[in-house]
Each structure stands twice: as C-alpha cells, then as structure tokens.
C-alpha cells in the first residue's frame, strides 16, 4: 500500500483525460482550502437554512419517540401478522446506506483505489450517522425499550442469560460492534487532521478543542509508521466486519421459516443491496456538496464515474437476486413459496413490487451510457430513484412475506401510520442534522490523505 500511495496520480491514458484530483493542487492549497471551510469561511445562510430544516425534522423524531414511549407500540401500524413493519424496514434501509462508507474507506483502501481519498471521510461520517438512525429502530420496536439492556449478557438478579442461538442476538452484537469500529476508524482517521486544524485555528476555544482532539499529534515519523499500520489493520478488520453485519441482518430474515425469507441467496443479495443503496446516498449527498463548497478540484468527475459504475454493478447483482428469488419460488416446488412470489407480483402489494423493479433494475441501466454518467443532474436523479427503490425492496421483503403466510385465516393487511412516517422523516432530519454539524466543524475531506496523492508528495532519489 505504502509504496504506491506516494506516487503522483498522473500515469495512464485515463488519468490524463479525467484526473483524480485537480493537478494544480499543492500541500499548502489542499490544507488551506479544506481547513478554511471549517475555520475561516463564514457560515453561509444556506447552511443555517438547511440545518434549521433538518433540526426541525429531528424534533419530529423526538415527538414521535415520546408518543411511542407514552402510548405504546400500538401507535405504529405493526400488528399480527405483520409484526415487522416499516420500522424494521427502516432499520435495514439505514444500515445498508451506512455500508457504502465502510466499503469506500476500508475495502477500497485495501484494493489500493486512491480515488477513495477524496470521499472516504465524508462517506465514513455518513456511515456513522446512518448507523445511529438504524440502531434506534430495533430498540424502539422492542415494546419496552427501556429494558433494552436486557439484550446484553450482564450478570443479573434474574439469573438468566440471553439466547445466543437467535439471530436477533447476533444482530445486537453485529450492529454494536459495527458502530463502535466505524467510530474508531473515523476518529483515528481524523487525528492528524485535528492537529492540522489545531495549528491553523485562530481563536482560543477552537485551538483548545482541536488541540484536545488531536491528543498532541506532531507528525513524527515513528508515529506515522505505527499509525499507518493501525489504519491498515483497521481497514482489514472493517472489511469482513461490514460483510458480516449485513449478512447477519439478512439472517434475521433467512433463519426464519417465513416463505420468501428462508433463502440462501439472502446474505450476498443483502450485502450487494447495501452497497448499492450506500453509493446512491453518497452520490446524492456529494453532488450538491462539492458544488456548494467548490470542491470540484477534490471530488472530480472521475469519482462520479467510478461511483456510478459501482452502483451499476451492485444494481445488477441485486437484479440477479430478484430473479433468483422468483426462480427459487418456482423451482422449490413448495406451494407456499410459489404463492409468495405470485402474491408479490399480483397480490395487494404488487404496485410496490413493480415500482421496486422499475427503480432498482430499470433505472440504473441508464448508467451504461457515459453521457448519463457525465451528467450530474441525471446521476443525482438516478441515485434518488435507487434510494427509493431500496426502501421499496425492504418493504416488499418484510411486508409481503408476512401478510400472507401459511394459514389464510391469519392473513392480514399492513398500513404504516402517521407515527411510522413521523419516525422515518424524523430520522432523516436527525441524519442531516448530524451531517450539517459535521461539514461545519470537521474537515469533510481527509487533509493528510489528500497530501499523499499530490505530485509533490513523491520522494525523489
């Protein structure tokens, strides 16, 4: 990794047409430009406007949670037979979005994809904030959320232990480990940049704040050596972790015996879907952000093309998953499985199924065209459609399988209530609240990693 990391990024025919970063950048200009967003640039009205809207929606989430705690789980539309409604759906949706951040920061680091450097910090922040939203849903779905600590194995007066054979327990460990490791990975990545901000800050409170966060980082060669090793090992640990997390999320379904859930395709199909949704969200957020903060020199069209290609590839894997689901339904010869797939396509929720096919399979096909990949507006719209599509996918999986299972006498219909929507919109508000605070107070592009890909970073013999 380190041999390659310090070579300038100029070789090859592709790089001359679309460079990974603006070739005119220097150590000084990279440092000053990124740190000035945090330290010098006047906070714009647009930032306050966006923050205010997000914060207002965040209040809606608090209202929805308060109502839920006060009245009970009945305020949501969940009931037998559909006991997992949009809350579990939203859990899967949010955590899937988070996975792109880990993919960009860890897997692309191991694959030596240096274009990741411009977007990994931002994508990691997105991961962390999305996991924060995801984690709330299963907790508030518990019915008695104030007893959530019962999920952890701690010595208690009841003298019992959690049931470790259940995928729901695996979920507790997977999501909490994922949140912890993502936070550590993110913080470790920030330490040298905190030092940069400490040395650039002009006001005392910020010097102290960033100084404490930097923990006395001084860029010593010995420190860098261990730091790079720690970062590489963390990337190596986060890579199987991210795959395990969505695998375990898919086990929540696949270990159950509900028709349409009990399938071996689930783990890879869920992981691909998570990356697909996550890259859509990264594009959705970076396209306006780079424009607004003038970061076109750092996040170039090269990044947009690459992310669009990853989206297309994972979209095709997801499409393969849908085809296999239908094929298994037919090939299993099991009448319940066959009915399940027929019910998805022709039952009361068929509109959701066909909308999902349109959003997740048809829409990304436009990304084959270089012209469309080069149009930011088209990319943004496709990303938006994919985000909706991935939400619909989880709706179809959760609801259509549950609402009609083995016994027609226990069939039912499911409708999310206004409180379900309030919670969902509220978590979007919370997500953007955290994101707005992040871009205002922390460097949204990793400054020290940007320095490593500059031409002047090369040591000449």
């Amino acid at each position: 990794m380190q041999d390659e990391a310090h070579k300038p990024y100029t070789e090859g025919p592709m790089h001359t047409t679309t460079p990974v970063i603006d070739p005119g950048l220097t150590f000084a200009s990279v440092t000053d430009k990124i740190s000035s967003i945090v330290l010098k640039r006047k906070t714009s009205l647009a930032w306050f406007f966006g923050f205010a809207i997000s914060f207002a929606l965040f209040q809606l989430m608090l209202l929805a949670i308060t109502n839920l705690l006060f009245v009970g789980i009945g305020v949501w539309g969940v009931n037998v037979p559909v006991a997992w409604g949009v809350d579990i759906l939203n859990f899967v949706w949010w955590i899937g979005i988070g996975h792109a951040g880990t993919l960009i920061s860890a897997i692309l680091l191991l694959l030596r994809q240096r274009w990741r450097t411009s977007i990994n910090r931002f994508a990691e922040a997105m991961t962390l904030f999305a996991v924060a939203q995801a984690g709330m849903y299963p907790i508030f779905h518990l019915g008695r959320p104030w007893l959530m600590y019962w999920l952890f194995p701690y010595p208690n007066t009841m003298g019992i232990w959690p049931q470790f054979r259940s995928p729901l327990m695996w979920d507790v460990f997977a999501v909490s480990t994922y949140a912890t490791v993502s936070a550590m990975f993110w913080f470790v990545g920030l330490i040298p940049d905190f030092a940069t901000l400490r040395d650039r800050a002009r006001s005392k409170p910020f010097q102290i704040l960033y100084g404490m966060l930097a923990m006395g980082w001084r860029g010593s060669a010995r420190h860098w050596h261990r730091y790079e090793m720690a970062y590489l090992l963390l990337a190596g640990l986060a890579t199987p972790l991210v795959l395990s997390v969505h695998t375990i999320v898919s086990f929540d379904f696949a270990v159950g015996i509900i028709p349409g859930w009990h399938a071996t395709i689930f783990p890879p199909y869920f992981v691909a879907g998570a990356i697909y949704a996550g890259f859509a969200m990264v594009l959705l957020l970076t396209i306006p952000l780079r424009r607004f903060y003038g970061l076109e020199g750092f996040i170039t069209m090269r990044h947009m093309h690459n992310m669009a290609k990853v989206m297309l590839a994972t979209g095709l894997i997801v499409g393969y998953g849908y085809i296999m689901e239908a094929f298994f339904g037919w090939y299993s010869g099991n009448k319940y499985e066959r009915f399940m797939i027929w019910n998805r396509m022709h039952g009361p929720y068929s509109l959701y199924y066909w909308a999902l096919i349109l959003c997740n399979i048809i829409a990304p096909q436009f990304l084959w065209s270089k012209k469309i990949r080069s149009s930011l507006l088209a990319l943004w719209i496709i990303s938006f459609i994919v985000s909706i599509g991935m939400w619909l996918e989880r709706f179809v999986i959760v609801v259509t399988s549950l609402h009609r299972d083995y016994l027609p006498s226990s069939w039912g219909m499911y409708q999310p209530t206004q409180w379900d929507w309030a919670m969902f919109i509220g978590t979007i508000g919370f997500f953007f609240t955290l994101l707005f605070l992040f871009i205002r107070f922390l460097p949204m592009i990793s400054i020290f990693e940007m320095r490593t890909i500059l031409p002047e970073a090369e040591v000449e013999d």
């Binding site: 310090h6 440092t31 049931q163 460990f173 860029g219 090992l233 963390l234």
Partner: protein, 196 residues
Amino acid sequence: MEREPTVQVTDTHPPGHRRHAPPLYGVMAEFENPTDLVAAARRVYAAGYRRINGYSPYPIEELSEAIGFTHTSLPLIVFIGGLIGAVGGFFMQYWMEVIDYPLNVGGKPYNSWPAFIPITFETTVLCAAFAAVLGMLVLNKLPQPYHPVFNVPNFAMATRDRFFLAVEANDPKFDHAEVVALLKSLGALEVNDVEV
C-alpha cells in the same frame, strides 16, 4: 540584573541572562520538501546518529526507513487482541448456554456451536480493533499534550507543508556544534535548538 521600579510581567530570565542553560531536547532542522528531508535523514543516520526523528504533514515511508524505524509490534498486539476476542466470545456463550443456564431450545444441543460463530466473529473484530487503536495510541505515547518540539518556531507548519528533522540530545554521539554544522550542510532552511 537591575530591578525596574515598576512591576513588569516579563521573563525574569531572558535568554541572555540565564544562570543555567535550559536542558536541551535536541536540534531541529527545517526542510522545504520531502525529498530534502529524506536525503538529510539518510545522511544523518549514515553519520552514526540513532536518536533521530522526522516530522512531516503526511506519512512518508522512506522517512521511517531512513531513520531506521521499520519495526512495530502493533500487528502482534492486534493478533493477541483478536485471539482474546475469539476465545472470550466463544467461551462466554459456551459458559452461559451450556454450563450456567442450559436451556433446551427446540431440542438443539446445548453446545450448538455453529450458532455461536456470528457473535464469536463480532467479538474477535471488536477486540482486535480496540487493540489496534489503543495499541497505536499507547505505543505512540498519545495523548501527550506537551512536547518540546512544539517550541520550535514554525513547527505549526509541520501540519501544512514543512518537513522537520530532529537529532535528540540523548544520542550518544550528540555534540551540539557538530550536529548544527551537519544539519546546516544538508540544505536545511533553518536550524533551531529545541528546549525541553
């Protein structure tokens, strides 16, 4: 030293009037680019100095090689962390489900080990990641709010676009005049004493 009639808040021992020279941490040279720094570090190392250290705004692999720092026990620490996580995670479940509170769930064996693997994996990764982060911080002796090198004028540029090389005073070969002369001969922009 004459006392002023009025109270003055100044250094009571301005540099020229110090009774004892302050203890020296070392001598620090400033360079303009990574190539000069690495070349200088190689020369200083070749001259026999071992207590030397470079400071740069981003990781430079050649630099840690040039100062003779190529080994870190961090991978071993992370491996041990992962091992503790794996063994601890599995036997936590084993002890709870088999020994302390055996519960028959659908006729499955008490030690239904395949069902314990996902959590074992998660605890392995968690402990290894903690070992990586805490190990890196402990080996680097961070957090460390004060360090003598921060006294060097212009050292704030070490997090922007300047490169530094320090020869520490506890090097057995350290001789102030010799080190200053050597560093000056290597194209340093500036050479400063670093006070403790």
